[in-house]
């Protein structure tokens, strides 16, 4: 069997992942627009490689690990910085990965927000914890922030609601940067044949509301999911790119290319291809 042709990862119709225009908007408009990309993933399709690719794009203009030496490479502003913050992975996890990809370490910053988070904040008021978290992020409106599994805050901070999390953390964070990329786990919404979602449960209601609000607030939604037929040796899963709720309100002249790739992740490298 011949190997399928490798495809380039693109999100916009100018063949880019983060369009150059998105960087320039801030300098042209007096009222800066802030954008959000959303990555949704599940148990068998973790978004590690996609986050790395987006960091690469943010730092060097193109996802080199996915697309190879792309022609459509636009160099980013030297002053911008990419910030990665994860509620599930430690600092070393992304540090090792990005070092392996040889991403310029001066252009990204990894925040350690997982270590002793519970020990330090378990009895503190929610507002205080969210403010403290917010203060950890740099106040650079040209920066890109990648936030992994922020929905865990709904479980970690007792009584926190989806609206509160959005109002006190996600929206202020979005205003601090030009692009906020949120990765979230949607395992809860999948395979509900055996046990449907209990909508009377407060926790499940808040998580559902939060994920839905992210979809509405985002420009692009990248959904990673495993094949319906189960595990395959030559396919890890599918990456579906679709428009988010804000795609029509955006001032960008470029359009989102809705697409579905299959991808194969093995030995720390990922390849995209079509069906």
């Amino acid at each position: 069997m011949s190997t399928p042709q490798r495809q380039d990862f693109i999100l916009f119709n100018d063949q880019s992942v983060i369009p150059k225009e998105l960087n320039d908007v801030a300098t042209i408009d007096s009222e800066q627009q802030h954008h959000m990309f959303l990555i949704t993933s599940a148990l068998g399709t973790q978004p590690y490689w996609l986050i790395n690719a987006l960091v690469e794009t943010s730092v060097s203009g193109s996802p080199l690990s996915l697309n190879g030496s792309s022609i459509n490479r636009c160099s980013n502003n030297d002053n911008t910085i990419t910030v990665i913050a994860s509620f599930i992975h430690e600092k070393k996890f992304y540090n090792t990965a990005l070092q392996k990809l040889k991403v310029n370490s001066n252009k990204y910053q990894i925040l350690d927000i997982i270590t002793d988070f519970v020990m330090k904040n378990i009895d503190k008021p929610r507002d205080k914890v969210l403010d403290m978290l917010l203060d950890k992020f740099p106040k650079d409106t040209q920066s890109t922030i990648i936030l992994e599994q922020s929905e865990l805050l709904l479980a970690l901070l007792k009584g926190l609601t989806s609206d509160e999390l959005n109002r006190r953390f996600i929206l202020p964070l979005m205003k601090r940067c030009k692009l906020l990329i949120v990765a979230t786990n949607i395992d809860f919404f999948q395979n509900n044949e055996d046990e449907p979602v209990d909508t009377n449960n407060r926790d499940s209601l808040e998580i559902t509301r939060f994920v839905t609000s992210l979809v509405y607030a985002s420009l692009v939604v990248m959904n990673l999911r495993s094949l319906d037929t189960g595990r395959a040796k030559d396919v890890t899963g599918s990456l579906m790119i679709s428009k988010g709720g804000q795609s029509n309100n955006s001032s960008l002249s470029v359009d989102i290319v809705e697409n579905e790739y299959l991808y194969l992740t093995e030995k720390e490298s990922t390849r995209l291809f079509y069906r």
């Binding site: 068998g44 978004p47 430690e90 519970v118 020990m119 970690l156 979602v197 990922t270």
Partner: protein, 492 residues
Amino acid sequence: MSFRKRGEVISNGRGTPGAVPGRTPAGIMSVNRTLPNRDSPMTPQQNARGITGRMQGLRVSGENTRAVNQVPIPSDDENKDDGSLLLDHPGIRPSHLSGTFVTSTGSEDIDKVLAHTGLPLGSSLLIEEQGTTEFSSILVKLFAAQGIVYNRLASNNKDNSSSSSNTHLIILSLNQGFAKELPGLYKGSKRDIKKSKISEEQSKLSVQNLNEKKTTPSRYKDFKIAWKYKLADEEKEKLNAKKISTTSAMNDEYKDYNHQFDITARLLPAPTSSEMSFIAPNLPISTILTQIEQIIKRNKDKLIRIIIPSFLHPAMYQPDFFSLSKSVALIHGLRSTVKTHGDRCVLMATVSTDVISKLLRVQLENLFDAILDLEPFPQDMLQFLERIYKSQPNKVQHGLLHVMKLPIFSERGEMQVKKSEWAFRNGRKRFEVEEWSIPVDDVESSNSKPTATQESHNDHDHDHSYEHETSHSKSGADNATNPKNTRISLDY
């Protein structure tokens, strides 16, 4: 000017053959076990210290010698820290897939299923179990017993090692009797015990044994063999010896990595508080986490195995633990602790999926690095398997083992959800995991043996008139196919 050859192995400067590749004796800092492509679990400082220790053994000649000599060489005691001591730990070995250091779960087959020959240090493993069976409790006891055995190995080697223990267990449970329930080491069958006694006798120095050892091929005695043939024989022997030594070298190097346990025996003497610490789960989460942190700090230089047997068992955990805010906070805090001490800490938990909601289950699964799900067979399936394997009752599996997450690989984004690929069988001396294949019932053979059919009628009180048509299927799976001569009765 040194006359030492370039390829020559440099001794450790103590006049002992410490440069033998592989494990060095306990107490002597090993530096040979550096691995290619390892996601260094040690901190850079630990690595640097390791190099210093190695440099200590180097004999450097020439003009640079003076400069090197002027550098104060730290003593052995200064070199000792968490990572370096763990290099000599019998329960730690490199993963053959990723190069990270792993430790055994106490079950060789589970180690294989985890793909790294163990659980990587700094990782957490969740064993889920469906139904009302308690297979996961066996696994958690094996995990604990293995840690105690590591510790006792160090105590036995007390003369060689500076510290008398190398492993500490932290149990998050109210059941203090857990320590007394751990399985003992499997000593072999009666025949094995007899054999080992005989070999022991033979290994003793006696005139008869020495005579037997010096046996030569009979043809040497029969006639004068040409010297060339004799040389060929000797070369063959050498080659065989080499082959055996290379294969056994790996096994010998990690011979204390895995142990076989007998679940009907008990680990004696029972573990003491110096080997195992209990923390009650009904304490506030911050107290639990602080206590664990203190125990880890108190037991520096030791492998820490944190165990949560029967997590969220209603008898042990208060109702508020079944809300997200408490259980997720606890596991998130533990995850952070395990990652912080990633070079010497592992976590294993078991949970019954029947007592928790889907939301809680998904959130807990999200926080673990590896997840195995045990699905015991229902009664009718077990009866079917017993009938199929009537002549080989040892072959009857007890359930399916689903792999939901594998350490390292799943994090990287690889799809490692393997449902119904493995089956498990719990025996007295081993928790076996093997590839699951649908058992085939040969219709012809059963037809040709009416007596056997009759027997099965007597054994089982269900209606056999429909037996050939019925097929048990689960979760809407396709019905079993009926080829000409064979019948697949169950489809999982």
